[in-house]
């Protein structure tokens, strides 16, 4: 039973990176990273800018060759293959739509490069792809005649229509305004479910990664800090870096506590919970929640996230902050 599970898992790997490194003359961009994607998985690479996530994407796309290590696509090593022979496609950060071609011609571009694809097939598949991203009727527009959100959808359609083994997305939502970004996030997720293609999604926005991904790899300075499901990473980060990158965290006596796990009361609850005394320093109303910051005796600040109407404390008032021991994040470093 167990063995069979392993075998199926192995076959399912559409993309695998093994001990990948990339050295530039003055800079080690990647210091040996390994991970793999299974068929139909939404996998995110997150990390601050300069952590090596874009380099990873360019190595997979074939735009640069790794210094060492191996990339296999559907079980076959792709070393030495130029980008136009690799069965991955990329949605670029600025979309990189061809400005001289119409929406339909942009989407058809990849199909026209294939041998033995007839004109009528191309027309049908372009039509389907544009319907998939809800752009039917905009076929004849040029990229500069459509909105930012529509351009992003054209880029998605153009990359998906060639049916890549893996779709690489390089911060595709970062060029959109915040409201549109949230809407496109939903669309992206539902699109990925419908097409069933593995997505490798790059972002520096932790909320985006947490809400979209099946699994996330957190990168820092050319290495992967931790790989796991969003909930695992958020609740059981193995390092301080991961804990802090994926959300706000208070460090009290060496333990990490998320603001939303902290309760505040005037009296010490004396219910067995961990607690610490403090003085209310500020309270920030954010609409649905309020962030209350208290100064602890050791001078550190501790932020609690309180529900709407849950904050009845005055500035300078002495309070007790408490939380369940099970909500503490146990990180090694």
């Amino acid at each position: 039973m167990f063995l069979r599970y392993i075998v199926v898992y192995e076959v399912d790997k559409v993309l695998e990176l093994r001990a990948l490194t990339k050295h530039y003359p003055n800079h080690h961009a990647l210091k040996g990273i390994s991970f793999s994607l299974t068929q139909g998985e939404f996998f995110s690479l997150v990390g601050p800018s300069g952590c090596g996530k874009t380099t990873t994407l360019r190595l997979i796309g074939g735009f640069e060759e790794p210094t060492s290590g191996e990339i296999t696509l559907a079980g076959r090593p792709v070393a030495g293959l130029p980008p136009y022979r690799r069965e991955v496609s990329t949605v670029f950060q600025n979309y990189a739509l061809f400005p001289h071609l119409t929406v339909a011609q942009n989407v058809a571009f990849g199909l026209e490069r294939r041998n033995g694809v007839t004109r009528s097939t191309i027309r049908n598949r372009v039509e389907q792809a544009l319907a998939l991203v809800q752009l039917s009727g905009k076929e004849a527009r040029k990229p500069n005649q459509i909105s930012g959100g529509e351009r992003q959808r054209v880029a998605l359609a153009r990359s998906l229509v060639v049916e890549p083994k893996v779709l690489l997305l390089d911060e595709p939502l970062s060029a959109l305004d915040p409201k549109l970004r949230k809407q496109m996030r939903q669309e992206l997720k539902s699109l990925q479910r419908r097409v069933g293609i593995a997505f490798l999604f790059i972002t520096h926005d932790q909320e985006e990664a947490l809400s979209l991904s099946d699994r996330i790899a957190v990168m820092n300075q050319g290495s992967i800090e931790q790989i796991g499901k969003p909930r695992e990473l958020y609740q059981e980060p193995t390092s301080r870096f991961v804990a802090e990158f994926l959300g706000e965290v208070n460090w009290v006596n060496g333990a990490g506590i998320r603001p939303e796990a902290i309760r505040v009361s005037k009296e010490n609850p004396a219910n067995g919970a961990r607690s610490v005394a403090g003085v209310v320093e500020s309270s920030t109303f954010l609409g649905n929640v309020t962030h209350l910051a208290a100064r602890l005796p050791n001078g550190a600040n501790c932020t609690a996230q309180l529900p709407l109407n849950g904050c009845t404390f005055e500035l300078g008032e002495p309070v007790h902050l408490w939380w369940d021991a099970s909500d503490e994040l146990r990180v090694s470093a």
């Binding site: 796309g61 735009f63 022979r85 061809f98 001289h100 571009f109 490069r113």
Partner: protein, 275 residues
């Protein structure tokens, strides 16, 4: 604001009016007068010079000028495009490479043309080398023919093609090239389907900058063609010097100018449609 604008415009307009439009009017007047016995122009007014421009003999010269200028422009484009693309995409030494393209301008065009003649003539470097190596027994006819004229024009005007092309290609978003490769386009396909269409404004500008001076060239056909390949520029020059027929020379230059304007307008309109 209005005064400032006028002040900024005035010097340029004055230069154009005094040094370009006024002489042009004089040329127009010359073309409509009768030739004097020893050069110069005399009354009465007549349109006879224009009638002679379209005489088959001179029409042939005009036609050949357009043909030679066209071939030279096409060759400049074929040579200049890969060069400009290479420089624009070069990771390093862009400035150095551009300076090398412009380096010939540091020497007079006349001197450079003579240098070509020394290379190409029967006793020139190329022929004497091939002779001494016994590759050939008689000197190759490298100079004083249409091929030599085209060589001279391509050599002389190549930088005018490379520079505007470079300016366009340098602005090309490199991610577009990545995107094309990503979608399965081999490098040559990427150049043909993405780079060339987007470089069209630069190509039009370069072609105009090469075609116009080529059409009016007289030094290169005179020296490299040995007077055998007569282009419109030589025709004009001859009318004002040896032939002493100023009205006819003026008429030919004005017809040439109209020809250039027509070609320019057509190309410009095409470019606007593309953009």
């Amino acid at each position: 604001m209005k005064h400032l604008r006028a002040a900024f415009l005035a010097p340029g307009v004055a230069v154009m009016a005094i040094l370009f439009f006024a002489p042009l009017l004089i040329v127009l007047a010359y073309s409509l007068l009768t030739r004097g016995a020893y050069g110069g122009v005399v009354p009465p007014w007549t349109g006879e010079s224009y009638a002679r421009v379209f005489d088959p003999l001179y029409g042939e010269i005009l036609y050949r000028s357009v043909w030679i200028a066209g071939v030279s422009t096409a060759l400049c484009l074929a040579l200049g495009f890969p060069l400009a693309l290479y420089i624009a995409r070069a990771a390093r030494h862009k400035g150095l490479l551009l300076n090398l393209v412009m380096l010939p301008f540091w020497t007079s065009f006349l001197i450079r043309t003579y240098a070509w003649m020394f290379l190409l003539r029967d006793t020139g470097l190329i022929n004497s080398m091939l002779l001494s190596l016994h590759v050939i027994r008689e000197p190759l006819p490298l100079l004083f023919n249409t091929g030599a004229v085209i060589l001279g024009l391509v050599y002389g005007y190549l930088p005018f093609m490379v520079l505007p092309l470079y300016a366009t290609l340098e602005k090309l978003d490199p991610y577009l090239l990545d995107a094309a490769a990503d979608l399965g386009a081999a490098p040559f396909v990427t150049v043909w389907r993405v780079v060339v269409p987007l470089a069209k404004p630069g190509m039009v500008a370069g072609c105009l900058l090469v075609f116009i001076p080529c059409l009016g060239a007289y030094l290169t056909p005179d020296l490299m063609g040995g007077g055998k390949t007569v282009m419109a520029g030589n025709l004009v020059q001859n009318q004002f010097t040896t032939a002493r027929d100023w009205p006819f020379g003026a008429a030919v230059s004005l017809v040439l100018m109209v020809l250039v304007l027509v070609v320019t307008r057509a190309l410009m309109r095409r470019t606007e449609e593309l953009l």
